[in-house]
Symmetry: C2
Subunit: 255 residues, 2 copies
């Protein structure tokens, strides 16, 4: 019985893909069986883990029903990946029949017992792809940059969570808000941390104790087709992601 | 006869809104009449310039045809704004009839002669909203973070530009790629600069000489409802944006 976690924030560039790949790799390192699902038409999760996303079958084919999920999942050194590419940007228009919110959930049923964890990376939008992730997931992690514009988006996320809970997935919960590119010495960062804690309370959740600091290693890693955890294992973000996983496991936030 | 420029990159968080608000404010400071159009359902452009975006009529009402553009445009101290809010995220589904790509262009015709410049801020997506911006615009500016994932998105943008030129707007051109959060001392940044110059050539364009350096002032400014140019006029990004405008005007890239 796998735990399915969606990594979400419609604000761009806050670290959803970085968090998704780091969780996949760190869980895999500790012996868990993991599947990463990329729901962003930009395909960055697959790219960041070394896949050639231009020419492969993707989650678009699976959700459309033209390919079986088992044919499309790719095995990598850091776990299995269900990649995406730009064709998925047609989803909003093409997936328009009743039940369109359940396409991913239904397809995942076929394989989810083979994994301990499924991590879903989502696009910077509150659209049918994000809704599919929320409907399929047990829980959400919300990465955030410690900046004002990042806070702005969280109330919109809350409405989407409420709608999904009311209509499709009453058990969906928020594991926590993860501050990324965090610099504890900056006033703005500390102020946004305070406001995030208030917002987390409104979501019945928390801000994780682990905060991911900034390092150019995160930006360099994709060029090598690697997660920062294998590219620069002793860098601050790598240590912080390992601390996040400790927190998730020890507090039984995930099991 | 106004010059209409769309600020675009489907990668999240690269600085589209920061660039849009900085161009609006710097043009306004120099006496030009400016209109900012926010096409991102997150409404950050309006928010960053001090508007209350929750309770106002927006570009969604205008594109839907239920309000006239002149009723919705808001005058501010830094020029006029046509704001957006979360209702615009329904656009992909709701704007589905023939001519859906021309909704913004047609509405702008009514007011564009009152402005020297119209700056359109776009969402992190290649969807009907971005296509509306490309169809309405004379030219594009592409902000980019000096990171690998930023480069990945540019080839997808190129395909959208080609499609729009072929089908709807043959005169659309790319003014240039703008590197944001640029640190000339980092190897990665210099490597990405080289690659960006190659990509710019493929777009028949250039990387701007002006590069926007990073400063926490940019992240602080929205909390005060101001652009960084008025919040911190001597900060590095403010000086860099003024240099960008000099470059655009002196090289007659815009007039
Ligand atoms: N802790 C960090 N330190 C330094 N750079 C970071 C860090 N986290 C993310 N980045 C960089 O910021 C950029 C955005 O990160 P990422 O792609 O993970 O965000 P995202 O939320 O998935 O973006 P999108 O909304 O476009 O999907 C990337 O280029 C990444 O390399
Ligand atoms: N030069 C800079 N220095 C420091 N911070 C910056 C700089 N440019 C942008 N930022 C910060 O990065 C974040 C993203 O910037 P911005 O919102 O302008 O990007 P965007 O491309 O419009 O994002 P989205 O894709 O979500 O619309 C903001 O919180 C902003 O404050
Ligand atoms: Mg991403
Ligand atoms: Mg923006």
């Amino acid at each position: 019985m796998s735990t399915i976690i969606a990594i979400t924030n419609q604000k761009g560039g806050v670290g959803k893909t970085t968090t998704s790949s780091s969780l996949l790799v760190s869980l895999h390192q500790r012996g868990f069986r993991v599947l990463g699902v990329d729901l962003d038409p930009q395909g960055s999760l697959g790219f960041c883990l070394g896949l050639d996303i231009e020419n492969c079958a993707t989650v678009y084919d699976v959700m459309k029903g033209s390919k079986n999920i088992t044919e499309v999942i790719v095995e990598t050194e850091c776990g299995d990946i269900l990649p995406s590419n730009i064709l998925l940007s047609g989803a909003e228009l093409e997936f328009n029949r009743p039940g369109r919110e359940f396409l991913l959930k239904n397809q995942l049923k076929e394989v989810q017992n083979e994994y301990d964890f499924v991590i879903i990376d989502t696009p910077p939008a509150l659209n049918i792809l994000t809704v599919n992730a929320y409907v399929a997931a047990d829980s959400l992690i919300i990465p955030m940059a410690p900046e004002i514009l990042s806070l702005l988006g969280i109330s919109q996320i809350r409405e989407t969570i409420d709608t999904v809970r009311r209509c499709y997935n009453p058990d969906l919960r928020v594991l926590g808000i993860l501050l990324n590119k965090f610099n504890p010495r900056l006033n703005l960062n500390r102020e946004v941390l305070d406001l995030s804690e208030q917002i987390a309370a409104q979501l019945d959740s928390r801000v994780f104790n682990a905060k991911i600091r900034a390092s150019v290693a995160v930006a360099e890693a994709p060029a090598h087709g690697e997660s920062v955890l294998t590219y620069a294992p002793t860098s601050k973000p790598s240590l912080d992601f390992q601390a996040l996983l400790n927190e998730l496991l020890q507090q039984r936030l995930i099991s």
